[in-house]
Symmetry: C2
Subunit: 381 residues, 2 copies
DNA sequence: AGCGCATTTGAAAACGCTTTTCAGCCACTT
DNA sequence: AAGTGGCTGAAAAGCGTTTTCAAATGCGCT
């Protein structure tokens, strides 16, 4: 064993820079076009033309342009986005609205967000995320942020009623991703959830599972209902009579899933466990896994389990969570593409083949949490 | 077993609303103050005064105000944020910059973000997230987005060199959270990482571990160096000579951690495993757990492991990951508070007791992945 | 009737930028 | 020498708000 060369601490880059409290000077103002113009001995408009390479009418000689650019850099000039937006009527920014109430949504949203920023950076646009506690409470907030700040808004899993939808400003395009309401107020990007759920349950049945539990999200929302529908449809085709005791309703959160599963376990002591559990999303499934683990039930030896969404979290559980993959990333990217078309159309630039709805396909992802059922169903401890 | 009342599908709320393609009308423009004024038979300024309840000079009679409000609602008037910002020099928005390159950062960032939005909503501010691929490449983007769009910028885990820091606009306040460079260019919010690392390693030693491995993040960054420093300090105090073979360097991502651990395992076949592994963050630890599991090494029976950060992911592993908790949420919230003070100060409103740095405390969170070392160290298979 | 005062309202001037229009200049043609 | 046309850059007109200031109105008072 070599001896250690102490200290091993590597060099840490250090900056010497004008400290914050020194530049606390009050009323420091950013340089404007006029400032740059004054410094370069030209007018403000010449600066604008030079910096924007506007090819329309007024052209600036290379010599003047160089002078202007030098002055601009010396002054640290940066265009004021608000002023530019005011006159151009275009912010080059699209807003993303999402409810950030339960932390479990995060993984789902983060995946979508990845797609959104991929697409926005391709279009040289910015994405701005707006979060609030609930759609109903903060609807005014959504609307108040539209004008002059963003060119369009992507709503992630919005939940509206008639009254709220009427509040949407008419002059801003909206695109909804996984809308929880069947509305024509906005373009809808969705995935074939019913089919995904059906395929998953069919896969379970093909493996030999018969008593399949479904832990659903809140009833009445489009997503959960479609998943229930697919679940039932698969059972029906296999000639399995659905057992109402095996339909559990909870919310889209790990803590909720854990609670629901614990409640079910204590209400069914001594009865046989289901062969497999199909959860309405990954978060619920992870919560259930926690509850099962603390009850000493092994996955997948005693019971198989599957989720829905294929979030990152599904890959970090042990065993890894079998799930239904929605191409969230692609969906987020597509939302942006559709949005760009809408914006162009609204500005009178685009063609007229506008998309009103896009449906993505879902796929079953087999992972360790799903395997053959045990020979003898285990009883609830 | 009761029979199931089919169909179980619940009602899904439906909206009938003017479809997007109908309101595709080109050049629809939002109503302006002047429009409202025309409708109400008053001037635009009267509308502004009425709607803003400006108590300064011009007061509007209740009668006129009622008339104006009615007209504004009829026209669906909403103030144009850009125009308002232009004149008020205040966007009521703070930007949050984060590098969104590796997905592993997500859990870390999401936790901070929760704190940020908590604080911004308390201050009636908006938070806008800007993402980019790397600090060096997209620095211009950070800067270009400051002027007139946000009042201040929070940098999450920024990595700068001298040249890049010089690009920061002087008239916008910056607050850095976990800056990776020791700079005075911005206010620093950090946590006591060295102490956290030291306490964790001390906890391991107290449990009887002697051969403790550290899987570090990239050398040269402030965070990893501080964790190494704490690690070494704990070893030294316990009289343990650090073994250079037990210091592994990798990147902050699960995939990287997995790869690094696999590499170490295959390079050390037949030699004894360490008693415990202290990883520089949770993502690395999760990657290591994967590598160990696939090598048939059991946690914590064969080897104990711990992470750093206490992200959500640390709670969903089996066994749950022992980790060093940083109060990320509180840190995010504090960043906003500090920012608000800076903005007020810059506008000439605030007092002068400005904070330049805040250090939060870290705590060790004991969980299932850390227990006593095995009687006989296991050999690398 | 005339005056001062308080209360409402309107006019105009920013805010920083873009865009359109137009004048000046020079070289080149007729 | 006068006309033509291409370059270059200045002037001015907004974009939708807020803010400042002055004008208008109504009132009570002398």
């Amino acid at each position: 064993m070599r001896s250690w060369n102490l200290p091993v601490l590597g060099p840490v880059p250090t900056l010497v820079y004008v400290p914050m409290n020194v530049r606390k000077k009050k009323n420091v103002r950013a340089a404007t076009l006029a400032d740059v113009g004054r410094a370069a001995g030209v007018s403000a408009m010449a600066v604008s033309a030079a910096l924007n390479e506007t090819r329309t009418s007024a052209r600036i000689s290379e010599q003047t342009r160089a002078k202007i650019i030098e002055a601009a850099e010396a002054l640290g000039y940066r265009p004021n986005v608000a002023a530019r937006a005011l006159v151009k009527r275009r912010m080059n920014t699209i807003g993303v609205s999402v409810v950030w109430a339960d932390e479990e949504l995060n993984n789902y949203f983060v995946e979508i967000f990845n797609g959104i920023i991929e697409a926005t950076s391709r279009h040289a646009q910015n994405a701005t995320v707006f979060t609030f506690r609930s759609w109903s409470e903060d609807m005014a907030k959504v609307c108040g942020m539209c004008d002059g700040r963003i060119d369009g808004m992507i709503l992630v899993a919005p939940l509206f009623n008639q009254e709220l939808a009427a509040m949407l400003p008419h002059h801003t395009p909206f695109v909804a991703l996984h809308a929880n309401t069947e509305s024509e107020a906005f373009v809808n990007i969705e995935s074939n959830e019913e089919r995904g759920a059906k395929e998953m349950v069919k896969a379970m049945i093909a493996m030999g599972h018969r008593r399949i539990m479904h832990v659903s999200g809140p009833r009445g929302l489009v997503g959960p209902e479609r998943r229930i529908s697919g679940y039932l449809s698969a059972l029906r085709e296999a000639g399995i009579v659905p057992d109402p005791d095996l339909l559990v309703v909870t919310n889209f959160a790990a803590a909720e899933g854990c609670r629901a599963m614990n409640a079910w376990l204590s209400a069914n002591k001594g009865k046989p466990l289901p062969d497999a559990i199909f959860c309405a999303n990954d978060a619920i499934a992870i919560g259930c896994m926690e509850a099962l683990a603390s009850a000493g039930i092994r996955i997948p030896d005693d019971v198989s389990i599957a989720g829905f969404d294929d979030t990152i979290a599904a890959r970090t559980t042990v065993p890894q969570l079998c799930t239904v993959r929605q191409p969230l990333r692609a969906m987020g990217a597509r939302a942006v593409e559709v949005m760009m078309r809408r914006i162009d159309a609204m500005r009178g630039k685009g063609g007229d083949e506008l998309v009103n709805s896009v449906v993505f396909d879902t796929t079953v992802v087999l992972r360790g949490s799903l395997s053959k059922p045990p020979a003898e169903p285990r009883l609830v401890p």
